[in-house]
């Protein structure tokens, strides 16, 4: 049972990173972005490309770090993938969502996001093929943490968890201690007042996409480190990420973090009583339960 709990926490950290960006965009731009999870795919594949380039050009940084399968090249690639994905998110917004937003059609934004998700998924499949990829061919075995009860964790998973926590702490600092963070929160709460308070809306929206994209990229790479990289990462994770966002409450970054862990743990613990084939249904159940019991989520505010 503890093994399932630990696995859930590890998966939860990935979902949290994805949910933070989604909740920020949903709150600020007032639309459910079903293409957000595809940013995880962009991040995962960007890191794969950068890692391949570094391994070819700078083989000296392609050695594994300690017990991890992670290399310095991949670590550097994660940073670049975060920047690349953030930039991709801004470009997608500029090309598609902004044009619809300017016409004030919120429902069309949602439909457009389905289309964007399909386009991203298929473009990735077109470029990289449908077969799965790995960051490393080395086999990294799980380390036995405890024999009674049996508890095993892969070093890469622990790295992913700590890296996710560090990223969340940095974001917490940014939002709660800097005027830039206040500006992000101000725009999300009242865009019109934020504008007359001297905040340039378009700039804040772009920065929100960059942050959301960067966090999604990190989540995509951490997911790829412990699983396989395939064009359907986004399709597989869109529902759990939405569940995490809804559980936490739209607009609450801290809610998204908690929601990610709740969904991750619930999906993992469900394996104790359900056949693994039913596991993907767990986020559905969580969404339904939250909408019935607490429609605004754990930390969300009612919208007027």
């Amino acid at each position: 049972m503890i093994q399932y709990l630990v696995d859930g926490v590890l998966v939860g950290s990935i979902l949290s990173l994805g949910a933070i960006g989604l909740t920020m965009v949903m709150h600020m731009l007032r639309f459910a972005n079903f293409s957000h999870a595809e940013l995880l795919s962009i991040g995962a594949y960007s890191a794969l490309v950068f890692d391949g380039v570094f391994s070819a050009v700078l083989p000296q940084i392609s050695a594994s770090i300690g017990p991890l399968s992670l290399t310095w090249a991949l670590l550097l690639s994660i940073v670049l993938a975060m920047a690349m994905t953030g930039l991709s998110a801004v470009i997608i917004d500029w090309l598609i969502f902004k044009r619809i937003r300017d016409k004030g059609d919120a429902l069309s934004m949602v439909f457009a996001s389905f289309g964007v998700a399909l386009i991203i998924r298929n473009v990735i499949a077109l470029i990289f093929g449908l077969k799965t990829h790995l960051y490393t061919q080395d086999i990294v075995f799980a380390v036995v943490i405890s024999r009674d009860p049996l508890l095993m964790v892969k070093p890469d998973q622990v790295f992913g968890l700590f890296a996710a926590l560090v990223i969340m702490l940095v974001l917490h600092y940014l939002l709660s201690r800097t005027t830039f963070g206040y500006a992000l929160r101000a725009v999300a709460e009242n865009p019109s007042l934020a504008q007359v308070s001297g905040i340039r809306l378009s700039r804040v929206v772009a920065i929100t996409w960059i942050i959301g994209g960067a966090l999604a990229a990190a989540a995509g790479v951490f997911y790829g480190l412990n699983n396989q990289i395939s064009p359907v990462i986004g399709k597989d994770l869109v529902l759990p990420i939405f569940a995490a966002t809804i559980v936490g409450g739209i607009g609450s970054v801290y809610g998204a973090v908690l929601g990610g862990f709740i969904v991750g743990i619930a999906a993992s613990m469900a394996l104790l009583i359900l056949p693994s084939g039913y596991s993907p249904a767990v986020p559905f159940l969580i969404i339904m339960a939250v909408l019935l019991i607490r429609p605004n989520g754990l930390f969300g505010e009612a919208r007027t």
């Binding site: 007042l193 504008q195 809306l201």
Partner: protein, 243 residues
């Protein structure tokens, strides 16, 4: 010769293309005075103030700040031109603390931010004592106080206020309007939209009356307060002497 700091000329504007709310509206604001805009509901008072603040786009006309036409500039550039806008409702960020609200508007003030913050806290002691509390927890009067403090933080020469007394108790409304009067002694010019006509005319120096999106009447507030037609239409059918 009056020192005009803001001049609105022949403004045609509205929220929907080809459906203007304001038709050929003109207005002037003198330095260190209060000018009030009154009129029935739907007259376009708030729209006019939003046009000046850059929130509502104009179809034609000009907004002169000194010798510069600022019509069409973005709302976030208003502070750079020395104009602050206090909306009628939702004029503070509820989820931020009082201090964070003020830090936000002071973020580009550099070294001047600290002294300005100290000055605002001296000017508004209730805000100082509650600076770590969420702005959403403030009373109606204190919220208006914070909204005015946020406007003053950028040291504007002009403040646009949209019904600052709306939803306040009579005492709190009097305090807020009294604060507006006090600000003019520091050289600030105030353009005010107000529903409470009697109170507004007693407070203001100059008044514009709008109806159906057009200028109807304007003049000194004292004169209009004693005008039988204004008294008939806006002051409950009887003339009210100046206090």
């Amino acid at each position: 010769m009056p020192d005009i700091v803001l001049r609105v000329e022949n403004i045609v504007a509205g929220y929907v293309k080809d459906f203007p709310i304001l038709w050929d509206v003109n207005l002037s604001l003198e330095k260190a005075t209060i000018t009030v805009i009154i009129g029935p509901n739907g007259a376009g008072k708030s729209t006019l103030i939003k046009v000046i603040a850059g929130i509502v786009k104009i179809t034609s006309g000009s907004v002169w700040l000194g010798d510069k036409d600022i019509a069409g500039i973005r709302p976030d550039q208003m502070a750079e031109h020395g104009i602050a806008y206090v909306p009628q409702t939702d004029n503070i960020f509820r989820t931020l603390t009082i201090r964070q609200n003020l830090d936000l508007v002071l973020r580009n003030a550099g070294d001047k931010a600290g002294p300005r913050l100290d000055k605002l806290f001296t000017q508004f002691p209730p805000l100082a004592s509650k600076q770590r509390e969420k702005a959403g927890s403030l009373s109606g009067g204190q919220r208006q106080m914070l909204a005015v403090a946020m406007a003053l933080a950028v040291e504007p020469s002009i403040i646009l206020m949209d019904e600052p007394s709306a939803g306040l108790s009579p005492k709190a409304a009097e305090e807020v309007l009294g604060l507006a009067r006090a600000l003019t002694t520091t050289g600030v010019s105030i353009l005010l939209v107000e529903q409470n006509v009697k109170q507004a005319l007693r407070l203001a120096d100059h008044c514009y009356i709008l109806a159906e999106g057009r200028n109807q009447l304007d003049g000194s507030a004292a004169d209009l307060l004693n005008d039988p037609v204004v008294g008939e239409i806006y002051l409950g059918g009887r003339r009210v002497g100046a206090a």
